[in-house]
Amino acid sequence: MTLLSIRGLTVHHGLLRAVDGLSLEMERGEVLAIIGANGAGKSTLLRALAGLDAPTSGTVHLDGRDITRFPAHRRVSAGIALVPEGRRLFRSLTVEENLLTGAYRGRPGPWSLEAVYELFPWMPDRRRQNAAQLSGGEQQSVAIGRALLSNPDLLLIDELSLGLAPVIVRRIYGALRDIVAAGTTALIVEQDVSQAMRVADRVNCLLEGRSVLAGRPAELSAEQVERAYFGIRDGED
């Protein structure tokens, strides 16, 4: 069953065409990883899906509903949550208050404060701490928990592993497996290509705002991915 359907999406960053006529579909319950070099348009794509950047043209359908013109707060009600690049926790709020902001819209679903605490067992002990005092990995977990509390159908995670120690990254990807098992669909942007190939059901490589390679990790060769990632055309090397 198709959850997300993007058709001909173009998003401008000033004069720059950051996402260029992109189309892609996502099935319910799968993990799609977007890979690509810096400036390929990955973050802009996620921001456009969350409603922070307005598209110039194209459509976005969630569960058959046209949400192209929805502002960010209405997309939360529709079932999209973004874990933004750099976590962006509310620095004057405690850990628990940060999590609870996610529940503001009151969308029904499996995720509650207790469920998030079960997913990240270290959190209850530190729930009264200020969010700014946490380490990068802990902040990323709180940001994911906050997004989960809005009970999204589609979870968008931007730069999940950026700036985190490998052991922390493994732990967070372990949590992601539980999240998807609970019925959430995940679209992640990942810098680390080999990591993306390990965890995703499908990968999609962007280059200059266009999709240049898409498929299941097992069906893609390292050489194919490398060429797509760096934009090497046949006969150029």
Partner: protein, 288 residues
């Protein structure tokens, strides 16, 4: 004994300053709007109450109960209709809009009510007092005003820390875009913040009007007190605002004890000292 009396009177006056300054602090904390019409809004509330009393003959407390919620609604609408549009154009635009609003309000009041100086007649309640100890006499009006200010600040504090909408106000103050990402409609959140600001400034305006006279041009001179209370206490902290209001009130009262002409100057000097030596305020913190 006279000095202790001055401190007590200043403390009670400080409660009113804090109540008056809360809205200014809240609007800056949540929306980064410096509302230059803040003092004029308090005066508008005073004149509105005056007109309601002379027009309908209702008792003062009923007029207060009507005026404060009415101002909350006005605040929400002002934010949505007047201020929201200017927010995207940067801080200077909002400053100009509120400056313009200040001038318009003053002139409308002048047109309707003339330049005469008025007071709001609080009856026996406004002038009666009781003896606390020795030569210290406490007026009922300042005492009730002080308690009301504390109750309102505590109420806002509970709203900000315990309710979902209050949390969203604080979240929006930290990071508006991310607040949108978790489902906050900025326009609504900002409307609520302005509604609270307008309601508190109306209440403070009515309390001011019972203890001292006012005319259409009083607003800007009142605004200075609000600014001083906010800056002395620390921007964005509710309890800081209460502390700032009390420091300002006590300083003014002690200044008046030395020489009545020193009243305002003493307050301004403390304000200047805080700006020079502790610009983040006595209680630096951000709760709103």
């Amino acid at each position: 004994m006279q000095w202790i009396n001055a401190v007590v009177q200043g403390l009670l006056l400080g409660g009113l300053y804090a109540l008056f300054a809360t809205g200014l602090s809240l609007m800056f904390g949540v929306m980064r709007i410096v509302n230059l019409a803040h003092g004029d809004l308090a005066v508008v509330a005073s004149f509105l109450a005056l007109a309601l009393i002379s027009g309908t003959g209702l008792p003062l407390w009923v007029v207060i109960v009507v005026t404060v919620p009415l101002f909350a609604v006005l605040g929400y609408l002002t934010q949505r209709v007047l201020l929201q549009g200017s927010l995207s154009s940067g801080p200077l635009a909002t400053l100009l809009v509120t400056f313009g609003l200040s001038i318009v309000l003053q002139n409308v009041l002048l047109e309707i009510f003339s330049a005469d100086t008025r007071t709001l007649d609080g009856g026996a309640f406004a002038t009666s007092s009781f003896q606390l100890a020795g030569s210290i006499t406490v007026g009922w009006l300042p005492l009730v005003t002080f308690l009301l200010a504390c109750a309102v600040l505590a109420g806002i504090q509970v709203f900000l820390s315990r309710t979902g909408l209050g949390r969203m106000l604080r979240a929006s103050s930290d990071d508006r875009e991310t607040a949108n990402l978790v489902g906050a409609d900025s326009r609504h959140v900002y409307g609520v913040a302005t509604a609270i600001a307008f309601a508190t400034v109306a209440l403070a305006g009515l309390m001011f009007a019972m203890r001292s006279s006012f005319d259409p041009a009083t607003g800007p001179s009142r605004l200075i007190f609000a600014f001083e209370a906010v800056v002395i206490g620390g921007l964005g902290s509710l309890w800081g605002t209460l502390l700032g209001g009390i420091v300002l009130g006590v300083t003014q009262s002690l200044g008046a004890q030395i020489d009545p002409a020193m009243t305002l100057l003493a307050g301004h000097l403390v304000f200047l000292a805080v700006l020079a030596f502790r610009p983040q305020g006595l209680l630096a913190g951000r709760t709103a």
